[in-house]
């Protein structure tokens, strides 16, 4: 009886460890431009976007409609960043193979990478990939979602946040087409 209970407990514990989704600390996530080799991080000052790449234009967003997370839009030829009313980088979206999203020592990924590149690092997340529709034309993608966490001074620990790193693959070719993190309104 004791052996059976021990085995059951061990199996449940093992499954929990094996099946747990990874959570990436937001300050460990780098967005790098291969061309300029410049890197930025979310929730840091918009000043860090200087010389990130070829800046096509900046747009001030209509605050009667947009939320406070989207006060300004920086449109580079390889990526779009959204900056909050507080001047912090809050979101980005890219389709360019020139942009690398990485946690050093764990993973490094760019549009044009294959689905299989991700399976060894994020097996559970890949297993949970689902079809979604994205953008004004409702294009269909296979979405892999990577959880993000941030430090809470109150809890003195990292907590999962409500927003994730989204990797959108072509459902047929399984090639990575688009990457984004959007802080929802």
């Amino acid at each position: 009886m004791k052996t059976t209970m021990f085995l059951l407990a061990f199996m449940l514990f093992s499954q929990k460890v094996i099946c747990q989704n990874k959570s990436i600390k937001i300050e460990q996530l780098f967005i790098t431009n291969k061309v300029t080799t410049k890197s930025v991080k979310l929730f840091t000052s918009e000043e860090t976007l200087k010389n990130f790449g070829n800046l096509l234009k900046t747009e001030t967003l209509d605050q009667t409609i947009y939320s406070e997370d989207y006060a300004k839009k920086y449109i580079f030829d390889d990526i779009i960043f959204y900056v909050s009313t507080q001047g912090k980088i809050s979101s980005f979206e890219t389709v360019s193979p020139n942009i690398i999203i990485e946690k050093k020592g764990l993973f490094s990924i760019s549009p044009s990478n294959s689905f299989s590149d991700l399976t060894s690092v994020f097996p559970e997340e890949v297993n949970n990939a689902v079809l979604i529709k994205h953008g004004i034309n409702n294009e269909q993608y296979l979405c892999v979602k990577i959880n993000l966490s941030d430090f809470s001074k109150n809890l003195n620990d990292y907590v999962d946040i409500d927003y994730s790193l989204n990797l959108l693959y072509d459902p047929q070719s399984k090639i990575l087409k688009r990457i984004y993190i959007w802080i929802r309104p």
């Binding site: 409609i65 947009y66 989207y70 979604i132 993000l148 946040i161 309104p185």
Partner: protein
């Protein structure tokens, strides 16, 4: 024409029948209410809830009928990256704008007159509500003279601070 007794419609002042707050990720139903209620952001310094949610998220299965909670004119119809398909109704004195987001479709055009209870469109998961983990909802944000305001006082159903329903409206 609005009929309070229509069993297919919500209470006058509610956008969706049997209105409830949609949970938001790690923050749960609290994250669907208005204010500094979400984990992960830059615009609040309130403990772990450091992201301001500029509206309220009312649970709405995709393609639910969406009804106006105010009267006025349609002032905006379009698609915005984060909000998806949205429609905005502005009061006749131009003081109050109410925006409904993440819709699948809008039923009215800019300039159309709107009364409380008029159908505005069908709810959806467009914009950045397309994430598979996000519970389908309509995001409602209200600005009075340009200042963001908690939409709760505009709704007939009332909610507790944790996002649970306080007093349902089922007439």
């Amino acid at each position: 024409m609005w009929r309070a007794s229509d069993p297919n419609k919500p209470c006058a002042g509610d956008p969706i029948k049997n209105a409830s707050i949609a949970s938001s990720g790690a923050s749960g139903p609290y994250g669907g209410t208005y204010g500094c209620v979400r984990q992960g952001g830059t615009n609040c310094s309130d403990g772990i809830y450091n992201k301001k949610h500029g509206g309220i998220d009312i649970y709405a299965p995709e393609n639910s009928d969406l009804y106006s909670i105010s009267s006025g004119k349609v002032s905006y119809v379009g698609y915005i990256t984060d909000l998806g398909n949205c429609i905005q109704v502005t009061s006749s004195d131009n003081s109050t704008s109410i925006l409904y987001a993440h819709l699948n479709s809008q039923s009215l055009a800019v300039g159309n007159d709107v009364k409380i209870g008029d159908k505005l469109g069908l709810t959806g998961k467009t914009g950045n509500a397309n994430d598979p983990a996000i519970i389908p909802h309509v995001h409602i944000q209200i600005k009075i003279n340009g200042v963001a305001t908690d939409p709760q006082s505009f709704l007939s159903t009332t909610f507790n601070s944790d996002g649970s329903v306080s007093v349902p409206c089922n007439n």
